[in-house]
């Protein structure tokens, strides 16, 4: 018995020794391959997602240039391609968040209110901050008025139209004097004359905010259950009832379609497949059309016009992503230096203007000769808008936008009455904020 107990003990010891050896080996390997730097070199971790290998390569090039110009700073660039914010939140919870990271306007209120990011506007030179479009800075302002993020680029909604279908239908192309009624009326005429749908729409709330605001509705903002009263505003109610009825009429007569009705996943695809003559879409549609439908050319086959106007002006939506700095970073000065480089004129010329994916957030770059003509046109239209609303409606933007979109979809399909639409919209807001 005694021998057996000893051999069992010895067995456990052997296992422990093996585990320790494996663990020690793992640590040694980590020490050998982890990014090392001389003691006077600061390592900044930088996390973002990627629009593709070209963007990653361009970032790497800018990072290399920055490191060459600043030999005491190294950038540890990490691309998180999936579930970026879920990963980022988890890294904050674990106390291992990156020093500098992408921050989408829709997530900004959460990060600001939780004190996770540093008010970099206090530290950056005002000359630098003043270069950016003021409306793009708006979602990154905290309730204390401080700026917590600097937009790296942006996209805007415009009216995309198919020139061939307009000419086939013998209809004048959209102008800056077009109203929302013109949009639907011409959609019907084009469908009657060509058999192709005039307009493709998505139910997403953010696509209809310009309609609401250009017809007198206030800018949406939902931060507590009481903000459900937004949908009691008579101008908001009139605008929503109005566009639902217009879309329903159009869908019944087939001149307005949802992307799925024409075998597409989204507006841009339906437009690119030429299954609809018009679509209200963001700047991301331009590189998509260019890459996916190379024979469907900007300026020849399709063009861009400003958003239609309502009774109270012309409004569009902007979508932007900022670079923000971890509130607990140990290397604030170096992080700011990196942001100034990447988001400054030199950085944006390579990362934004040259790429053609998005629009530069620095106002003076709107005249850059290297801009794609389509992007230059979108930027030239910015001043014609009475308001540019950035995609950020408070701390629950993403979830509420998706819930409102589901409600609009049911309304478009005639499954909800107008009264039910308002009850459900208000209910979505109040339940979002009244729950644990």
């Amino acid at each position: 018995m005694r021998t057996s107990a000893i051999s069992r003990l010895a067995l456990v010891l052997v296992v422990v020794v093996i585990v320790v050896i494996i663990a020690a080996g793992a640590v040694a390997l980590y020490m050998q391959y982890r990014p090392t730097s001389p003691s006077n070199v600061v390592v900044i971790s930088f996390a973002g997602w990627s629009a593709g290998p070209t963007e990653m390569a361009n970032y790497q090039k800018i990072i290399n240039d920055f490191e060459a110009a600043n030999p005491n700073i190294k950038i540890d660039y990490e691309v998180i391609s999936q579930m970026f914010f879920e990963n980022l939140l988890a890294s904050f919870a674990a106390g291992k968040a990156p020093d500098v990271f992408y921050l989408d306007s829709s997530w900004a209120p959460v990060f600001i209110s939780q004190g996770l990011i540093y008010p970099i506007g206090d530290k950056l030179p005002s000359d630098f901050i003043n270069q950016f479009y003021p409306f793009l800075l708006q979602p990154f302002k905290g309730s204390d008025g401080k700026i917590y993020g600097i937009p790296k680029d942006w996209s805007v909604l415009s009216l995309f139209y198919n020139k061939d279908l307009f000419s086939q239908a013998n209809v004048p192309t959209p102008t800056s004097s077009w109203t929302w009624s013109d949009l639907f009326n011409y959609a019907k005429i084009i469908h009657d004359r060509t058999g192709v749908a005039g307009l493709v729409v998505q139910p997403d709330f953010n696509r209809w905010v310009p309609y609401i605001m250009s017809n007198g509705g206030p800018s949406p903002s939902f931060n507590s259950a009481s903000d459900a009263s937004y949908f009691d505003n008579s101008q908001v109610r009139n605008a929503i009832s109005d566009f639902i009825s217009k879309v329903q009429q159009g869908m019944n007569a087939s001149y307005v379609v949802l992307p799925a009705d024409v075998g597409a996943g989204w507006n841009g695809e339906a437009f690119g497949k030429q299954k609809a003559a018009m679509a209200i879409e963001g700047s991301w549609t331009i590189p998509y059309l260019n890459g996916t439908f190379p024979n469907f050319k900007y300026g020849v086959d399709w063009d861009i016009a400003p958003m239609p106007q309502g009774s109270s002006g012309r409004v569009t939506m902007a979508y932007t992503v900022a670079l923000a700095v971890n509130a607990h970073t140990q290397h604030l000065d170096e992080a700011l230096k990196f942001i100034e480089y990447v988001e400054g004129v030199t950085g944006q010329k390579t990362l934004v203007v040259g790429m053609g994916q998005t629009l530069p957030s620095i106002e003076s770059l709107s005249n850059d000769p290297n801009l794609w003509p389509s992007h230059a046109k979108e930027l030239s239209m910015v001043n014609s808008y009475s308001a540019v609303q950035v995609f950020s409606f408070g701390s629950k933007t993403g979830d509420l936008d998706s819930k409102f979109g589901q409600i609009f979809l049911s309304a478009f399909q005639g499954k909800l009455t107008t009264d039910q639409v308002f009850t459900e919209l208000k209910n979505a807001v109040s339940s979002e904020f009244s729950s644990s």
């Binding site: 051999s7 010895a10 067995l11 052997v14 296992v15 093996i18 585990v19 579930m83 879920e86 939140l89 988890a90 904050f92 919870a93 959460v110 939780q114 996770l116 949802l258 799925a260 009705d261 075998g263 629950k396 993403g398 979830d399 998706s402 819930k403 979109g405 589901q406 409600i407 979809l409 049911s410 399909q413 499954k415 909800l416 039910q420 459900e424 209910n427 979505a428 339940s431 979002e432 729950s435 644990s436």
Partner: protein, 314 residues
Amino acid sequence: MAILASKKNIERLTFILLIIYPFTLNAFFGYFSAVFSFWLSFYSWDILSPMKFVGLSNYYALFQELWRGLNLLFSDPNLLQFRAPFFNGLKNILVYTAIVVPTQTFLALMLALMGNQKIRGSQFFKVAYFLPATTCSVIISLIFMWLFEKDGFINFFIIPFTGGYRINWLNDPTYLLTAISLVAIWGTSGNFSVTFLSGLQTLPKEVYEAAKIDGASSLNRLIHITIPLLKPIIAYVVIMGLIGALQMFDLSYVMAGSSGGVGGAGYTITLDIYNTAFLQLRYGYAAAKSVILFLLIFSLSYYVQNKLRYYRHE
């Protein structure tokens, strides 16, 4: 190393070394996560602020939602997706399970019976049936989304039977869940047919020979010999099918989107758990929902196991 002198000790050591890696992974990502999520269900937590103990209030809110859903189901089912998303997910996943599990089990058995025949090319068919199981479900979903388009391949074939009507599979709440179910059945039947096939090959030949001598037809042999002898395998396939179906996430996420598609018809419990945790940042409430899902899977599996008598009784 006297310890290594004994063969038994070497066996023990090998055993420990072999299990230490999977056990560590399982202990952390399986057991710890399960216990942690049960514990989390009594807290309110947005991952960023400190956790707050809330007792049973997550469960109370959940049962309120279920009750609200049950009422809406009979009064105004169009509002289910907005007011009682968890109930909507539960309702959908039960319907989905009821369609998928019996069909895939039956199909898998049929495929296995065919594959078990000594006919030319049976090896080719076995491989062909099993191929879907080796393909990523997201890719399968994407391919089927294309096939299910209004002007797609599937409608092209069924138009003669629908009088020219083209079903809008993915954008009509009446058909969305059926479309997802069909993809699941296609993807899993082949996999389970291999399980049945291995079961079929272990069945004793003498019984069949005796039955043949007694003049039993092939249908009689199937009903009275094959199926009773395969009972443990059937129970295994049904239970594994149940567990997989009730936890379905990938097909719905790709084919219907995270909000469950048109009318919320493709919404499932796991999509709701995902949205509650990662979009709404209500981790405690999401954990309570996972506990309910666990109880559902556990009780249904237990019931089926009892009903089908997993173990052979002599």
